[in-house]
């Protein structure tokens, strides 16, 4: 269990930058999620931590010591791959024992710890099977056991849940979190699924195009996104982003002028407002409902108004409005997030309301 740091790490593939000057540090026992779309460099970061890829520039530190030149097999890092990467020619027990094979652990002792770890991930009854005889969820547990048996400095999970069905994913999420807490192992989860990241991790590192967009607690990322990307990537249904002009009079979106509070230097901005914060309560901006989707617990509407197309949620199972119906939309200043359109950063101390 180690403290892990990346200092100004860059990875080039030829002329393309897969990872561009990222720095981050993880406390011992912390569970962090690296969240981003495919191709954002999150898997490359993971493989650099594991020692499979060498960073082009920058340093990787375990407990303060530089490990750039330490080979993968000496780093004592456990990985659960997206494909699980179980060894198909070996039984489950042999798979779990594989990492101990090269550590010269006495056989009896190795088997004892394999059985303990199998107990922990609840696969004790499967030890004699071959991976091909296991379901996806069971393979996942075997992969986890194999990664954990070597008491890793760092546990890396590469999209571990993406091959499981929805129900299983839900239970594995809690299961992985339970095991991680029980062992106190420093863990990095790589995922493109924001729900996975938000429910499992203590801290989310949101990546895009090889750079870190924002890092922080799940709540911080949701309520105070620093960039337009972070705002749009996190949250489902996605945040409304309305382009407009900030002037001395207020925020002008199309023909509509919204009241603002705070500093009002003229500039192009984007107004971000989450669907659950838009309300159709009879006053505000007139809009026409163009679609209504029942999501089960609530209904998602899309309304067309002078602001553009706006999504909003109502907490009713049966749709309250039909397509074509006229409503009035409003939202609170406290929930509005304004981004500088040019610098792509959040503007502090300004808010708008309707």
């Amino acid at each position: 269990m180690a403290r892990v740091e990346l200092q100004n790490v860059t990875k080039d593939w030829g002329t393309a930058k897969a990872v561009d000057d990222i720095s981050l540090s993880l406390e011992q026992g912390e569970f962090a999620a690296v969240l981003g779309p495919s191709g954002c460099g999150k898997s490359t970061t993971l493989f650099m931590l594991a020692g499979i890829y060498m960073p082009t520039r920058g340093d990787i530190l375990f407990d303060g010591a530089r490990v750039n030149d330490v080979e993968a097999r000496d780093r004592n890092v456990g990985i659960v791959f997206q494909s699980y990467a179980l060894y198909p020619n070996m039984t489950v027990l042999q798979n779990i024992l594989f990492p101990l094979r090269f550590k010269k652990v006495p056989k009896a002792e190795a088997e004892k710890s394999a059985r303990e770890i199998a107990e922990l991930v609840e696969i004790s009854s499967l030890l004699d099977r071959k991976p091909s005889q296991l379901s996806g969820g069971q393979q996942q547990r075997v992969a986890l056991a194999r990664a954990l048996i070597k008491k890793p400095n760092l546990l890396l999970l590469d999209e571990p849940l993406s091959n499981l069905d929805a129900t299983l994913r839900l239970s594995m999420r809690m299961e992985i979190r339970r095991i991680q807490r029980e062992l106190g192992v420093t863990t990095i989860l790589v995922t493109h699924d924001q729900i996975e990241a938000m429910t499992m991790a203590d801290r989310i590192i949101c990546m895009n195009a090889g750079r870190i967009e924002q890092e922080g607690t799940p709540e911080a990322l949701y309520t105070r996104p620093e960039t337009v990307f972070a705002a749009s990537f996190i949250g489902s249904p996605p945040i409304n982003l309305l382009p407009g002009e900030l002037t001395a009079d207020g925020l002008r979106i199309g023909e509509t002028l919204l009241a603002t509070r705070g500093e009002t230097n003229a500039r192009s901005v984007k107004l971000g407002i989450r669907p659950e914060h838009v309300v159709a309560n009879g006053h505000g901006i007139p809009a026409e409902i163009i679609s209504a989707e029942a999501l089960g617990r609530e209904t998602l509407y899309t309304a067309r108004s002078a602001l553009g197309d706006t999504r909003f949620l109502e907490a009713t199972s049966a749709p309250k409005y039909k397509a074509g119906e006229q409503v009035r939309l409003s939202f609170d200043a406290a929930h509005s997030i304004l981004f500088d359109a040019e610098r792509d950063r959040r503007l502090e101390g300004v808010s708008a309301h309707a």
Binding site: A72, D74, I79, Y87, P88, F98, P99, K150
Partner: protein, 360 residues
């Protein structure tokens, strides 16, 4: 609108479904059985020579073959084999197949014993036990020890086949892995030139190969055919092995290396076991190519420096014995037995060869 309705609606009276079903079943059965009949018919001329060789080897006496024995024996054997083939297709269960195999064998043995039993003998297989076959036939003076005992040729053939097989498998496996996993300058050129080598038939190179072998001083040694056969098969075998390694996911190898294995250990413990199918396939192919080789074992010796099974068979048939069909047939049976056994026991790996190719 009315026109559309006319097209979309079925005819007023619904057709006689059961009659249509009966007709379709009959047609299907007819098609199936005519196909089976046709395939059986064309397989007879292919199968017959094998039965003939076996029957001749056990029945012919010096001077000639009694064709009545031949026909009677084949009249027993062919129906038995076809009967077993039909049973093999019809019964998927292992024990049913075993029972039908036993029945077919019993019928064959009983039939042979009844029809040709008195004509069968083992005399033609005397070459297996008598070291001086030629002297027995022609008298001690003529042969002068030129013609070897069959076991001499047998073990030479075994040496050629096994050694070249071992070399081919080792080199093709390592090269296939390297080509599959490592990027290096000239990799695609190397792969293309491997394919180009397949364009030239090796026989076209017989004379240059002879000269090279002569200059390096390996003429008239068994190392010559071993080397040449290895080199001839390598390009194709490397390609096959590359295909098998391409099908092994990267993740598994990376996983092994983070689990504490070196690259070599990862290859040995994790990657190689998944290419066993390919290794067995090229082993069988490689062995049989060496076992059956005739051209290069003949071309690379200038006298009777070494004998292998193919040259032994050739001399039995052409040079020494004249027309002792019984002996020729017996040697042929002895010669083909190892290849046949290999094919029988390892054919499931040979069919994987195409699979590996498709995956790769």
């Amino acid at each position: 609108m009315s026109g559309l309705q006319r097209i979309a609606r079925p005819a007023a009276a619904s057709p006689d479904w059961s009659r249509l079903a009966v007709r379709a079943r009959r047609l299907g059965a007819l098609r199936r059985w005519s196909l089976v009949g046709f395939l059986t018919l064309v397989s007879i001329p292919i199968l017959l020579p094998f039965f003939w060789v076996v029957v001749i080897s056990f029945s012919a006496r010096t001077g000639g073959v009694d064709s009545a024995v031949l026909w009677r024996a084949c009249a027993v054997l062919v129906p038995c084999v076809l009967g077993y083939a039909a049973a093999h297709v019809l019964f998927p269960a292992r024990q049913h197949r075993m029972v039908s195999a036993v029945v077919a064998t019993a019928v064959a043995v009983a039939g042979l014993w009844l029809l040709v039993g008195s004509d069968l003998h083992l005399d033609n297989y005397r070459f297996l036990v008598s070291p001086n076959l030629v002297e027995e036939i022609r008298g001690a003076a003529t042969a002068g020890g030129q013609f070897p005992w069959v076991w001499n040729a047998f073990f030479n053939s075994l040496a050629v086949a096994a050694t070249s097989m071992a070399a081919k498998v080792t080199i093709a496996t390592l090269a296939g892995y390297y080509l599959s996993r490592f990027a290096f300058r000239g990799r695609s050129l190397f792969l293309q030139s491997l394919l180009i080598l397949e364009v030239f038939h090796p026989w076209m190179l017989t004379i240059p190969i002879f000269l090279v072998i002569f200059w390096v001083g390996l003429l008239n040694t068994l190392s010559a055919p071993i080397l040449v056969l290895t080199v001839i098969d390598l390009p194709f075998f490397i390609f096959i092995m590359k295909g098998f390694f391409d099908a092994v996911p990267w993740d598994i190898e990376m996983s092994a290396m983070t689990d504490g294995a070196t690259r070599r250990q990862a290859f040995w413990h994790v990657v190689l076991p998944q290419a066993y199918g390919g290794i067995i396939a090229i082993s069988v192919l490689g062995f049989i190519r060496g076992w059956e080789e005739y051209v290069f074992v003949t071309a690379l010796r200038t006298g009777n420096s070494y004998w292998v099974m193919s040259t032994y068979l050739y001399y039995v048939a052409e040079d020494v014995m004249g027309v002792d069909y019984g002996l020729v047939a017996a040697v042929s049976v002895f010669y083909m037995l190892p290849s046949l056994l290999l094919y029988l026991f390892l054919q499931k790996y040979l069919t994987q060869l195409t699979l590996g190719g498709v995956k790769g």
